[in-house]
Symmetry: C2
Subunit: 140 residues, 2 copies
């Protein structure tokens, strides 16, 4: 866990690389070592703190799926201390032609004494295909 990241984007690249490589230690090197971190995966309870985050991703990686993740930049809000990256993730399964629906994700990084570190990852469903109208409430 000696990786350091000069920019939020460097940390983000490592985060998604670790998922494609099913490399849990690499994944955990991206997270802030203070442990004041939170990960919200879909339809799951929040993972709060290093141990919970590690266990959650361990379960994902134990599935051993071979995936490619295409990440598109939607919007950045960055200050000297904090970087918020909202992205669209498209996950492609290596052994399937089935297209997964895209997912929005928010990744928040903070500047630490040793570089940028991830403090929050949260996903959200993307809109349904054209022609299907999403309902606005109750999910505001």
């Amino acid at each position: 866990m000696t990786d350091t990241f000069a920019t939020p984007q460097d940390a983000e690249d490592c985060f998604y690389d670790s998922l494609e490589e099913n490399d849990l230690d690499k994944m955990m090197s991206v997270w802030d070592s203070t442990g004041n971190i939170l990960c919200l995966l879909p339809m799951a309870s929040p993972l709060i703190g290093t141990e919970a985050v590690r266990s959650g991703w361990d379960r994902v990686m134990q599935a051993g799926m071979k995936i490619d993740i295409l990440v598109s930049h939607l919007h950045w809000i960055e200050t000297e201390e904090t970087a918020i990256h909202v992205v669209e993730q498209r996950i492609e399964l290596a052994d399937s032609d089935h297209k997964q629906p895209p997912i929005f994700a928010t990744n928040i990084y903070r500047r630490t004494a040793s570089g940028w570190a991830l403090i929050l990852h949260q996903t959200a469903p993307a809109p349904p295909p054209p022609g299907m109208q999403p309902g606005m409430p109750p999910g505001m």
Copy 2:
């Protein structure tokens, strides 16, 4: 839009009050006036910038639903400049006994020269009831 908020919690209280009161101007007073803001409502495209955020909430409020929102604190990550509040929202419709499923929300505030202001609101579905197992992938 002259509201100022001495703490992130003051801003958050105003945000949820504005929803219960269907008060769009009150809602918009919480958002950062720089316009570098983003709102991700469920199954909808990101609302980026003041006009998009205002239009999105206007559509929600035009529905004129009478709601109560119960907000539970899940986790705070706060620095001098930025406050990240992860909460559980339970929305109760005044005219219905139907229980809405809870929703997780992340609200991010930044300290401005005139107080704390909301820069991001994102929701995510909460876990299904006990007995239903959520699938982890593909939504990581």
